[in-house]
Amino acid sequence: MHDSRRIEQAAAEWLARRDRGDWSPYDARALEDWLCASTRHRVEFLRLQAAWREAGRLQALAAGLPGDEVPPRGAWVLGPVAHATHAHDVAAAGAATPMRARRWRHALAAGVALVATGAALWLGWQLGGRSEADYASTLGQLRTVTLADGSSAVLSSDSRLHVRMTRGERDIELLQGEAYFDVAHDAGRPFVVSADGRRAIAVGTRFSVRRDAQDVRVVVTEGKVRLDAPPGADGRATPVSLLPAGSVATAGRSGVLVRSLPVAEAERYLEWRSGFLTFDDTSLASAAAEFNRFNTRKLELADAGVGELRVGGNFRWANLDSFVKLLEMGFPVRAERLPDRIVLHAR
């Protein structure tokens, strides 16, 4: 737990203790000492105390409730204060019982249908043993999907996956873009992600695969991934790379380049999942390409010289404007803002 949370917890404990009814001058002094020890203590205490005081208004809601029972969730709309202003809510609450019963019947029917489908699927599994599905995300969208085997995949902007599960293998084809996989452990069925002729094979681990025009990039953040390619047309086997956690492998025409980084560093390549792009001494040309993977409004470079500027930092991919503004502030560039794109010129 972080210190800040510990402080919040402690502040709550003080308040609860003061509320107990046996508060002594000695306790008061101890609390005062605690509050004076750090401004962080004081602000957290003030915050919780104010909210708790505010919570006293709940008494207004209790006034119209029958009995002294703790009301079920949502029942407060029946209280007199809310009554006048939430007539429709009250009506809905009144109808709740029959509706709930009906919903149950539906759920039951759905359950039966599910069992039936499940049985059919199971039968299909036993006979043919495969299931297939396609997943896609649009430009600027991140999408998390759960695959049939319980693994999950996060699709980056503008990406496509084709998934085929069989009894012996889990085949995922990355048709476009990038995806991050959290693989459910199943030693009997390797999890194979193929992209542009390269295959990344895992059993239970976390990694991402991404396709670019020229190459395929694999980032491993947990476990091990084997990277290989099927034998070429000349029958020569291609070398196999074993990638431990922290690896960033780039496989191109000419071979595979593997960089071994601390896992935390490798994870920076995956910050797109939380909305960020991370650059570290990256050419503006590649940074622009990166932004363009996520946005419909494209960033274009009018001069080669502009593309060679080096940038670093952590940027929201959705916030192209602020990135461009920064470039204008920090570099000799001028931005021409057009509706569908922003063009950067040397200044």
């Binding site: 800040s4 917890q9 602000v43 915050r47 919780l48 708790w52 919570a55």
Partner: protein, 196 residues
């Protein structure tokens, strides 16, 4: 015990917590540090304002947040131009326009409170109700629910934290996401329940 200044702090600073939360969340990539950032922002504002009360508390709050993030970014690995940019005040006002943080009348405040209550885990909700609404003393709450006094105290402390999160910072979780700083190590389960 609360001083005039403490009241000022609650009234003029804490009311902006939701906007502050959104601002920090947008600018700072490390979610697990948001809670700590917020607390330090408050502490800095409290100390500075105790010496000299700012004319525009809200602007002062956001400026403090921006400076703190810049300081931390400088100390951390991200030593680039970025901090200045995404932390621009223009963003702040944008955020704030979306969700004006003043309490707008009693009705809305009540509604928000009722929501906060309903989001508490079952037992915690019962304890809070009996103590805060029916005003039973803690030991009667314990007897009524057949639990120990220590447990009542624990539920109350938790209820206080969760209610504060909902009233001040706890954004209505959008697309199934738990509010940034309600999930603590020891009550993951509750945080999930909250997001329901």
């Amino acid at each position: 015990m609360p001083t005039d200044f403490d009241d000022w702090f609650v009234r003029e600073i804490l009311v902006h917590e939701r906007a502050l939360a959104q601002y920090l969340q947008r600018c700072w990539p490390h979610r697990d540090e948001l809670h700590d950032l917020r607390q330090e922002v408050y502490a800095r504002v409290y100390e500075a304002a105790a010496r000299n009360r700012p004319a525009s508390p809200q602007a002062f709050l956001f400026t403090t947040a921006r400076h703190l993030m810049t300081d931390r970014a400088r100390r951390g690995r991200v030593v680039s131009i970025e901090p200045v940019g995404d932390f621009e005040p223009s963003n702040v006002y944008l955020v704030d326009d979306v969700s004006p943080e003043r309490w707008v009348g009693a009705r809305q405040a009540l509604k928000r409170l009722a929501e906060a209550l309903d989001r508490l885990p079952d037992r915690c909700r019962e304890v809070v109700w009996l103590r805060r609404v029916e005003e039973l003393p803690q030991k009667d709450v314990a007897r009524r629910l057949g639990i120990s006094g220590k447990t009542v105290e624990k539920h109350l402390a938790k209820g206080m934290r969760l209610i504060a999160d909902h009233l001040y910072g706890g954004m209505p979780p959008r697309d199934g996401e738990a509010p940034a700083w309600t999930a603590t190590d020891e009550d993951d389960g509750d945080a999930r329940q909250q997001a329901d």
